[in-house]
């Protein structure tokens, strides 16, 4: 097999393209999530999608990707609203609030799954697979849908870049500028939910948090500028997506999601150690030199 098959082989092309698209979108939105300290929200919302997927199927009887994605997105949105309710109106700490939303939604989803399974039609088989990711089974229609959604996400981010930038770094300042901070936050959350839904049937709910956090965390070590951080994160995400897809297709028994996440994890480790802006090694060297002066 040669690398040119990325363009010619149907399966490989879909998997690589789908993973690359996911990498770009989750890299961009992960940057905002990490800066807003919502790194784990992705994990909670990805799990919260399960009841939405089940209800969408129960309501329509359809297993079409757009239907299930819509259900997943709605459930994720409701989960986020409840999460924010806990954080604003109670003294529950963010970690506990996340754990509550994650486990309750997922548990309710599992209950619904058993309800779905009791229905006489056999069409429900594999409904849960939607949540666990199966990049290798991506078909062209899904990739086109993912591409369409990600274009919407990226255009919105580009159009509102200045507003989002102020909002992420200094909410109070954004408010004094007269920006609609409530709506900006809601929009950013909605875009995050879209990224998660795209990720669900590619890498699955468990690995989704790495897709959001890892590219941003790696990018952060190389730059102090938001614009560059977003571009870098998108680049890291896309690179990991493509190479993860290649790795998994070229070797037996290598699922795509874990392959992508392991490449991303490697990128994070390298960046943490050698990142040009905040690399741990450079700081050690600097400290060593400084202590050497006095001796």
């Amino acid at each position: 097999m040669t690398w040119t098959e990325v363009f010619t082989d149907y399966t490989l092309r879909n998997v690589a393209l789908g993973s690359a698209i996911l990498g770009v979108v989750s890299g961009v939105l992960g940057t905002f999530a990490v800066l807003r300290r919502q790194g784990l929200a992705g994990d909670a919302l990805a799990h919260a999608a399960l009841p939405g997927i089940c209800l969408a199927y129960l309501a329509t009887g359809s297993k079409a990707a757009p239907v299930l994605m819509l259900g997943a997105a709605l459930a994720g949105w409701v989960g986020m609203v409840i999460l924010i309710g806990f954080l604003r109106r109670t003294r529950v700490d963010p970690g506990s609030a996340l754990a509550i939303v994650l486990t309750t939604f997922f548990g309710f989803g599992v209950v619904l799954l058993t309800v779905v399974q009791k229905r006489p039609d056999a069409g429900q088989a594999g409904l849960d697979k939607f949540l666990f990711g199966q990049a290798a089974a991506l078909v062209q229609d899904q990739v086109v849908l993912m591409a369409g959604l990600s274009v919407v996400v990226l255009v919105l981010i580009a159009a509102l870049f200045k507003e989002f930038k102020v909002f992420v770094f200094d909410v109070d300042y954004a408010r004094t500028l007269g920006l609609p901070t409530g709506r900006l936050g809601a929009l950013l959350t909605a875009l995050l939910v879209i990224a998660i839904v795209i990720g669900l049937n590619t890498v699955g709910d468990v690995l989704m948090s790495a897709m959001l956090v890892a590219p941003a965390a790696a990018a952060r070590q190389w730059t102090e500028s938001l614009g560059r951080m977003i571009l870098l994160a998108a680049g890291f995400g896309a690179t990991a997506g493509i190479f993860g897809a290649l790795w998994s297709v070229s070797q037996d028994h290598t699922p795509t999601g874990p392959a992508i996440v392991l490449i991303l994890s490697l990128l994070v480790v390298v960046s943490l150690l050698f990142g040009s802006s905040r690399g741990w090694v450079w700081e050690r060297v600097r400290r060593h030199r400084q202590s050497g002066v006095g001796a």
């Binding site: 996340l98 309750t104 989803g109 209950v111 799954l113 943490l272």
Partner: protein, 371 residues
């Protein structure tokens, strides 16, 4: 022991043991660590399988616990490098470990039944089939004994180190100054949390394990602020949710683990809404009451300010108040009623007159604010 009784008992004991373990985890704001551990133990299970050359309960338990402690260590190492915040560190570490686990399973154990979906769901309904037999006698489900043992371990640890845990949770700085070893204590505590998560995970699945550890403690803290009461309540809520969830699941024939998690969610949601004083409704009512009470105080201060001056008649007219204090006429009516009920003012024609109580309230409030 009948199957139904066995499952119900496992659910109750799992709830009680996890509920106990979760109290300090939640207080230390580490709830998501249990979620991270519950996913990251997969490579540990594989390692246990590898070293024992087959399925072995003890090897699996040790491997999984080691992976859980490794998760804690990796997250804290990253946080200590001061490059990433804790949420990002957690969000990186457990997917990486989970990914390694999935890769190992699909590479080397593709023929072994170690389904990653089942890892997440858990199936408590299988509990009665895995019994513990000693000298030919059936002692009931294995997971029941494991969970009960873990409950005792947690209780023992809490009993021995209650003071230390309390101090290092509420005032870590003081704990260090007093010569406690917060690091050692923390890792001992997290090891026990990892063991509890592993034990619960094997009985009820990863997601329910996290629900059982986190939610009872959070629910309890809506109802009381006294730590010993929180602990007892948390155990009770865990056990109660286990029983109730089991009952509901069998009544409508759905997943037991899912039903217990849903029950826990309803309990904490109900508490968040309706708990006295800390609940959403109580807080909203309190805010509203405070708003009117504050307005009434502003009113009597205004009246007291102009009492005995030439402008008194003008300043105390109802229609003047509207303009002066920026209230609508509805608001003025409501606020005047508030102050009349408190006995602070009485109406005289279109004027408001301060009573002695009202004057004292205004003066008292001014002094209190100045102090």
């Amino acid at each position: 022991m009948s199957g139904a009784l066995a499952i119900a008992l496992v659910a109750i004991v799992a709830g009680a043991s996890c509920g106990l373990a979760g109290v300090f985890l939640v207080l230390r704001r580490l709830a998501m660590m249990s979620d991270a551990i519950s996913h990251a133990i997969l490579p540990g299970l594989v390692a246990g399988y590898f070293f024992a050359r087959g399925p072995n309960l003890i090897a699996a338990f040790l491997g999984a616990t080691a992976a859980g402690v490794l998760t804690v260590f990796l997250v804290e190492t990253i946080v200590r490098m001061r490059r990433l915040k804790e949420d990002a560190a957690i969000g990186l570490v457990f997917p990486a470990l989970f990914a390694i686990g999935v890769l190992l399973v699909s590479r080397y154990f593709a023929n072994v039944h170690l389904d990653t979906d089942a890892v997440l769901y858990g199936e408590i309904a299988l509990a009665p089939f895995d019994t513990w037999n000693v000298a030919g006698r059936n002692l009931g489900p294995q997971s029941l004994w494991v969970l009960a043992g873990l409950g005792l371990l947690n209780a023992g640890f809490l009993y021995l180190f209650f003071k230390e845990l309390k101090l290092s949770t509420f005032d870590p700085g003081l704990a260090e100054i007093l010569g406690f070893r917060p690091g050692l204590l923390h890792y001992s505590f997290m090891t026990i949390i990892a063991m509890t998560t592993v034990g619960a995970f094997s009985a009820v699945g990863a997601i329910l394990a996290v629900a059982l550890i986190v939610i009872p403690a959070v629910t309890a803290s809506f109802w009381t602020t006294r730590l010993p009461v929180v602990i007892v309540l948390s155990i009770g809520i865990g056990a109660f949710a286990g029983l109730l969830g089991y009952g509901a699941a069998t009544a409508i024939d759905v997943s037991i683990s899912g039903a217990i998690a849903t029950t826990l969610g309803l309990l904490v949601g109900g508490s968040a809404l309706f708990a006295p004083r800390t609940g959403f409704v109580a807080q909203a009512l309190l805010r509203r009451r405070q708003r009117w009470a504050f307005a009434a105080t502003a009113l009597v201060i205004h009246l007291a300010h102009h009492r005995g001056t030439d402008a008194e008649v003008e300043e105390s007219r109802l229609d003047h108040l509207q303009a002066e204090l920026g209230w609508s006429s509805d608001e003025v009516n409501r606020i005047v009623r508030e102050s009349e009920e408190a006995g602070w003012t009485i109406r005289e024609g279109d004027r408001l007159v301060l009573t002695e109580t009202g004057a004292r309230a205004a003066a008292g409030r001014l002094v209190a604010d100045r102090a």
